[in-house]
Symmetry: C2
Subunit: 213 residues, 2 copies
């Protein structure tokens, strides 16, 4: 069985995006700073169709996650395009060649035909909930993991449902002060975690856990 | 100049105490679980007047912090005894021989004479703010560090004022779901941190930072 995983960058004070994410600034105010540790890395640049970049332990961690992932699930907020019925001209934030390069399942209340993009990404739209999205993603992941891409509310839904098998939090050395909290609305029952691995670098600390069920 | 430090245990989801801290349960619901990694350690037990216990890397981390600290600052909420004028019979949560064994400065709006306890702890009550508390604590710390003991609101006050020199967060592998958040109300200006050290153990991950000013 493939795992459902999460790889996400969080400030020490718990934010995965800055204040008020919006069309001109999808990561919110200060959100770019969170992900700064990734931008120069070869593994990240390659996914975004760029050449060159740094190879270090941080890059290995990203490479490992990307190589292990066969499909991605994300929320409509992360995909963008507003809340209502689809404007078919909206094809996500990432241009004609999105960096996913694999099947992506977008949770939405509004049906839409799949969007085949350049470079291997197909956006599929799922209207019947997180369980269905996971099932569909698994069926095309070719034995690899399914990754929850975000945003926070989708991560929280999978956590509450007890469906997440592994979570790797990349803790950025930063107090952002305000923004979108990753761990919120998780209910009143604590979840024990088992530490799988800790990797440090000057730019970020990689904490990998397995929820204990 | 001695440093102002913070050593605090936080769940991965950002809580340093459980839901509704109260007289019968000062750490709140689930709060005991947070500190579980410490209870069996020799360094912790010794401070609490007990013998025996485990010696490991976690214990060394505690020992290092305790040995480096010459005075502690805490808020009235952590000291206890309600919000109003003092009931002089209240001497804190910790019995006749509190585990601090050094001068403690309690931030309060209500003056009170110092309380000399057994085992080296003296509780001093400071009514003129966090700057004064820090100055008084430094003057008696004998060249050692001053530690902010908590609670969250006092930590936040020192962070906002830019007075904290080092913070070590002991991340417990746990999603508590609800409780008292450490990093909250920090305002809108991000604070960069420099990673000083990362130490992992199965029970907890020790992340030590220096705010960049």
């Amino acid at each position: 069985m493939t795992k459902l995983t999460l790889d996400i960058t969080m400030s020490l004070d718990g934010f995965i995006a800055g204040h008020t994410p919006r069309a001109e600034q999808p990561l919110g105010d200060g959100g770019e700073r969170l992900h700064e540790w990734m931008y120069g890395l070869e593994a990240f640049r390659k996914r975004h169709g760029q050449v060159g970049g740094t190879t270090n332990r941080d890059a290995e961690i990203i490479e490992e996650s990307l190589a292990g992932t066969g499909a991605v699930i994300m929320g409509r907020g992360m995909f963008g395009g507003g809340d209502g019925p689809w404007d078919e001209s909206w094809k996500g934030w990432w241009g004609d060649e999105p960096p996913f390069r694999q099947p992506v399942f977008v949770l939405t209340h509004h049906p839409r035909e799949p969007l085949v993009m350049q470079g291997g990404t197909t956006f599929n739209f799922v209207t019947d909930g997180i369980g269905s999205a996971l099932e569909q993603a698994r069926s095309v992941a070719a034995g690899k993991n399914v990754a929850v891409g975000g945003g926070a509310n989708v991560v929280q839904q999978y956590l509450r449902a007890g469906l997440l098998d592994e979570l790797q939090v990349h803790v950025a050395p930063l107090l952002l002060g305000q923004g979108v909290r990753l761990f919120d609305h998780l209910g009143t029952d604590p979840t024990e975690l088992e530490v799988i691995r800790v990797v440090e670098s000057p730019a970020v600390t990689h904490l990998k856990y397995r929820p204990v069920r």
